[in-house]
Symmetry: C2
Subunit: 338 residues, 2 copies
DNA sequence: GTTTGGCACTCTGGTCGTTCGAGTGCCAGA
DNA sequence: TCTGGCACTCGAACGACCAGAGTGCCAAAC
């Protein structure tokens, strides 16, 4: 177990390193923080911290920098979440309030988050599987061609084309549309399948095949579109990464283009709490020198999607976590209102 | 007027510089290209080319590099468009053929273009103003709340919520829907306004206000959504930019996040022909050391949107232009089929 | 036992010169 | 008009050197 003072030393190291981006030595530490002990003592503490793997030195006779393990301890035990200032909060609210539709909400959120944290922001669109149905629409585009439109409570719209074997009359169409809506409107997507299972039976034999096709398409949409969309922004902040650019930045840019990777990253955020993945804790290799702070957001009490930021492990964790949490809350509010 | 040989020298310089990324000297030139003259002669030619502003030397006693003006001449008079190889063409076709919907088409196109050119790819979604209407749908979500859904021939879907002052009956709704569709389906978006202008008059007094609101929303959507969407990809290729990273790359990343800037860039592409903007020819300052190659693409003979790539001025113009043109063609085909 | 001051040691980073080589410009001759 | 030759320039690479920051360890003090 590390003594109180050693933890204090670790905290000081993290803070200084995050601020200066340079290895921090014992003397500088005692000067910038009121630790109440001499550099020599700090040196001893640092030696212990290094033995335990919390800090490391890039080379002999350089200061120390925190390791992933050190950041982890810092985040878990030494740092709180720094709440935003009132002006910041007001700015968030004002900015998000101007949004006109879902795309706009997500777009603004991404920009906001990027600006606030000065890092790369990632925002997932509200997921279909967790939302509820606001409306299902069926259109007849051609005699044997239908379009299915799905509208969610979060404002998302998905459409599918359906080719049916036999023409489908306008009356049947209206009928199906009405029945479909009466059964599924207001329901969560995951609850839909059993609710529509028996629908084909109530139609005439001629139409049954088409109805089945429509239902199949609907269910398919629910599943397939669980493949989520997301938006990223603030990539220009990657240039503040460090000195050793190309090598660090390239894999990150690559990762950011891989939706799958990003979704996995965000996916590790727990439903309500905030998740922080530091350096090697990220499964994806290219993100070994980055940390991901993510959290779920939702319109009600429940998370419908996630958002977060990706930045260097050397980041201001309390501030970042504060911003991420605050933004998530406000977005949730906005979604609930609309 | 520059002699034939001097043009040849310029071409050689451009080619070598693009290949090696290093200033090219007279000796190296004569060795790598069969110019049939001695280095001394080439030196004289280079002096002239420099006087005319086509090439420059970073510092005395270094080789020459092409200036923007030099690239311009190269593109205009010295280089053709390099057609893709047959395997490449086949790969494009195969890759694009797998697309399932519009998002997928655009997404695949962006990835393809980025991979082919090894640069940053930008693809604009088929523009609303140039597409035609496939269907207009009106849904009643609540007594005084409607949703307008617009479906284009390119598969794009736009939706708007409408709050109306007075409830709107189902029959009126069906009526409006029918009339609206009979008038605008198959029409180009730009042609729509005059076609629906007189619609309110044919409705009962009670409904007229709502009908007007709906039409206003429709027209508004047409205009507002002319604000186009686009997708970018291949940003990781920015790391291949040059040696002087952070400074060059940062403004580019910033520009890429500004949809407006990007749209303007693409916008300079003429309808059918390819546009190449070199270095300072780009209005946006941050892109002063990049070139943009763009071209329109469309489903019929007509361009519905644009796509292109952004890369260092030091790029392989013939190859890039070839790839951009080829991809645009295939995307056009795909859109026409679906 | 912990803390402290002192001291020797070890690195890295920056600053100079120096050298090396590529490339140029110019000139006189073919 | 082209060519070969030559002197000149300048950046990149190399090595030496120094200064500064930081460490580890030890013996003394608290």
């Amino acid at each position: 177990m590390l003594s109180e003072r050693r933890l204090e030393v670790l905290r000081a190291i993290v803070q200084d390193y995050v601020g200066t981006e340079e290895p921090v030595g014992s003397k500088a530490l005692t000067e910038r923080h009121r630790l109440g002990v001499s550099p020599a003592t700090v040196r001893n503490d640092m030696a212990v911290l290094e033995d335990e793997g919390y800090i490391a030195q890039p080379h002999t006779s350089a200061g120390r920098i925190p390791t992933d393990k050190g950041y982890r301890l810092f985040v878990d035990r030494l740092a709180g979440v720094k709440p935003l200032s009132t002006p910041e909060r007001r700015a968030i609210q004002n900015f998000l309030d101007g949004a006109v539709d879902l795309d706009d909400v997500v777009g603004r959120t991404v920009r906001l988050l990027a600006q606030l944290t000065r890092q790369v922001a990632v925002v997932q669109y509200p997921s279909l599987t967790r939302s509820t149905v606001r409306h299902v629409e069926l259109l007849s585009l051609a005699p044997a061609r239908l379009m299915l439109v799905l509208i969610t409570d979060t404002g998302r719209v998905e459409q599918r084309l359906i080719d049916c074997q036999t023409p489908f009359g306008e009356t049947s169409l209206a009928d199906l549309r009405a029945r479909l809506n009466s059964r599924v409107v207001g329901r969560r997507f995951t609850d839909v399948p059993p609710l529509v299972q028996d629908l084909p039976e109530s139609f005439e034999a001629d139409d049954r095949a088409t109805v089945s096709t429509v239902l199949a398409t609907l269910l398919e949409t629910l599943v397939e579109e669980a493949e989520e969309r997301l938006m990223i922004g603030g990539t220009a902040n990657l240039t503040r990464f460090g000195h050793d650019f190309p090598l660090t930045i390239r894999p990150v840019l690559e990762a950011l283009e891989e939706q799958v990777v990003l979704l996995k990253l965000l996916g590790e955020a727990s439903e309500s709490g905030m998740a922080v993945r530091i350096g090697h804790e990220n499964a994806y290799e290219g993100l070994n020198s980055t940390s991901v702070v993510s959290v779920g957001y939702g319109s009600g009490g429940e998370a419908v999607a996630k958002l977060g930021v990706v930045g260097p492990t050397r980041m201001d964790y309390p501030g970042t976590m504060g911003a991420v949490r605050a933004v998530a809350r406000y977005v949730g509010q906005i979604l609930a209102e609309s």
